[in-house]
């Protein structure tokens, strides 16, 4: 444990800001103190508590890859008090960060396997950490496929990276927007993520599927994967229940026997099936 006070944040400076989509921003954050930077490490799937004094804390995943050291990135949508205050910050502003918290995607167990990413809307950030992690260790994995959809072209996040992923020969990127969300220039698919997944029909052999998206997308995507032959052990997601402490003490993210913050946020579909449907 780094501090005598669990709630004590690291001060981090905003090094860069990217406007991703309407109301959605990415911050690149760097540690103010070298000692903090040196002791900090995390793995894909983990999250943190980001704060502004006087406003409070908000929970987001770490959206950058652990293979990229010296900084972290977070992507958030302006929604409540804290995220609205965060959205008003500029490069050079200092935030509080505590973390990393939670469990991880068991990437090392997946060496030698195909990885299928299925993401919707603002839920790409937790998977983006894994995608870059996998791409940075590309020779340890077999086929890499990313299916990403949003309501409209404007709502797609990481547009600059989608371009890069689309041109790479060592992965396959399929993007889609909901019907009506396309523009005249749009060259991706038009259709809901589960529908596009059905036509894409990835094989389940030696494959792990990571699914993150709004509840309605998740609800219709799991059955498609099962129809394609994926077992519940081959499907993973992250839960985004309301959290406060991040370390299993405040009780808020309790669902059935688990605390999402410390027993998750990464769960296999098999694990989800044994929980009450409160996520």
């Amino acid at each position: 444990m780094r501090s005598a006070n669990t709630y004590m944040p690291y001060p981090m400076r905003i090094d860069a800001i990217i406007d991703e989509a309407p109301g959605v921003r990415t911050f690149t954050l760097k540690f103010m103190n070298n000692a903090d930077a040196e002791e900090f490490s995390f793995k894909a799937g983990q999250f943190g508590e980001y704060s502004l004094f006087g406003e409070g804390e908000a929970t987001f995943c770490i959206a950058s890859s652990p293979t990229r050291q010296g900084y972290i990135e977070c992507t958030f949508r302006q929604a409540g008090r804290v995220t609205s205050a965060l959205a008003r910050q500029e490069v050079g502003s200092v935030l509080g960060f505590r973390g990393p918290y939670g469990n991880i995607f068991p990437l090392e167990e997946w060496y030698g396997r195909n990885i299928l990413f299925v993401a919707g809307g603002i839920a790409l950030p937790p998977l983006r950490s894994v995608i870059w992690n996998v791409l940075d260790l590309r020779d340890r994995f077999k086929d890499v496929t990313v299916l990403y959809g949003a309501r409209s072209v404007a709502d797609l996040v990481y547009k600059h990276e989608l371009k890069e992923w689309g041109t790479r020969s060592d992965m396959r990127l399929v993007t889609t927007v909901d019907p009506g969300g396309e523009t005249a220039e749009w060259q991706g698919k038009v259709g809901f993520v589960p529908t596009v997944l059905e036509t894409l029909a990835p094989g389940p052999e030696n494959t792990v599927a990571l699914v993150c998206g709004p509840p309605v997308m998740i609800k219709y995507t799991f059955p498609v994967l099962e129809q394609l032959g994926f077992t519940a052990d081959q499907i993973y997601t992250t839960l985004e229940n309301r959290m406060k402490c991040g370390v299993g003490k405040c009780g808020r993210c309790n669902v059935g026997p688990v605390y999402v913050c410390k027993d998750g946020p990464v769960f296999s579909y098999r694990e989800l099936q044994s929980l009450p449907a409160e996520y």
Binding site: Y7, S93, V247, K262
Partner: protein, 373 residues
């Protein structure tokens, strides 16, 4: 076992104070028996008892001068170890950043709890597991808990709403105390029988006038314990209860209780094991100075599980179910024991008189999935 004469109670309080303890004990305030700092045995609720039923609490005069002739009131000891409001730290704006002042916590208070019942010892032990287990021990809790001395008092009669025998948490204090008292009033005798539970308790007793209990006195106190254990109060049948609740998430009883439950959160506030909290900031008007506070929270509010995209518990039905299934089902998997110690506070202080033992029995009696009884 030893005998303490009545006057030795004051010597005990003085000995605790001499060791730097703030002595906290039951005392009558606002028509209830609550916990507060005391300096004299005269501040104890001598001659008072409490009357408890579902949604009813009152205090009444006893026919004797018992110092501990009542059961548990609206306060629990968690208000001292897990304060309802705790300042985590302060911060002052400095350029584009801030400077944190974490030093304002002050020296930790050394509490001596006088009058802790067996169920409450078990509740403290449960909160110890919650706050001190895992990778992130709660340092605020540990700092207070490590400096706390406990003088237990054994219940010699069952209260109006409690059910410790069902939960295997009482009425006799078995562990978790430094000293344990039993107040004996019978046959012209009025004294305390004291048991030691730790080296700290033994050392403390050295400064308090006492004498070894003789056989007749030991027999007398044992008979009081036995009588208390055999008194019939409320019961909660815990056999296979976690599985039964797990099988009955969609039981119509949850709809039924939702019609009565006001979602007022009284049950979670008086519960000695409930530990949910929130973290919130406050600032002065200039915005230059901010403080981060932790305060008690409750699973009965709509804000508790609200996220930008929705809320997983929109109804009183799901919130009451969460509270009960956490206590009587999931707590067992998380912390190895039921999260209920049978103190009965939630029954007494529920304005609608909802009784957790009745609700659990209703679900058991009409379980939707056949389970072994």
């Amino acid at each position: 076992m030893f005998i303490l004469e009545l006057s030795a109670l004051q010597a005990l309080i003085a000995a605790l104070q001499a060791r730097g303890y703030t002595v906290v004990a039951p005392t009558v305030r606002d028509g209830a028996i609550t916990f507060d700092a005391i300096s004299s045995m005269d501040e104890l609720p001598r001659g008072w008892t409490d009357v408890q039923n579902p949604s009813h609490y009152s205090i009444a005069r006893r026919s004797d001068d018992a110092y501990f002739g009542f059961n548990v009131g609206p306060h629990s000891w968690k208000k001292f170890l897990f304060p309802s409001r705790l300042r985590l730290f302060a911060a002052t704006k400095a350029g584009k950043g801030f400077e944190i002042d974490a030093s304002a916590d002050g020296a930790p208070v050394h509490y001596a709890f006088l009058g802790v019942r067996s169920c409450e010892l078990q509740a403290i032990a449960l909160q110890d597991r919650v706050f001190r287990s895992g990778a992130y021990a709660d340092t605020h809790y540990s700092r207070l808990r490590d400096n706390t001395l406990i003088v237990a008092v054994n219940c010699v009669h069952v209260g109006g709403t409690c059910f410790c025998a069902s939960m295997n948490t009482g009425p006799h204090a078995e562990t978790g105390y430094d000293l344990a008292l039993t107040e004996v009033i019978a046959d012209g005798v009025h004294h305390f029988v004291v048991e030691t539970g730790s080296p700290k308790g033994e050392e403390l007793l050295g400064d308090v006038p006492h004498q070894p209990a003789v056989d007749a006195e030991i027999a007398q106190v044992r008979s009081l314990w036995d009588t208390a254990a055999q008194q019939s109060g409320r019961t909660l049948d815990t056999r296979n209860l976690p599985q039964i609740l797990n099988d009955n998430y969609e039981h119509p009883q949850w709809d039924d209780v939702a019609k009565r439950c006001l979602a007022c959160a009284n049950c979670t506030m008086v519960c000695p094991t409930c530990f949910c909290s929130t973290v919130e900031d406050s600032t002065d008007l200039s915005g230059e100075h901010a403080e981060r506070w932790r305060r008690w929270d409750t699973c009965f509010t709509s804000d508790f599980t609200k996220v930008a995209g929705g809320n997983i518990r929109m109804s009183t039905r799901t919130r009451y179910r969460q509270w009960v299934t956490h206590k009587l089902c999931n707590w067992v998997e998380q912390f190895g024991k039921f999260g209920c110690v049978g103190c009965g506070r939630c029954i007494t202080w529920c304005p609608a008189g909802i009784d957790i033992t009745v609700e659990a029995a209703a679900i058991r009696g009409t379980s939707m999935t056949p389970t072994l009884g």
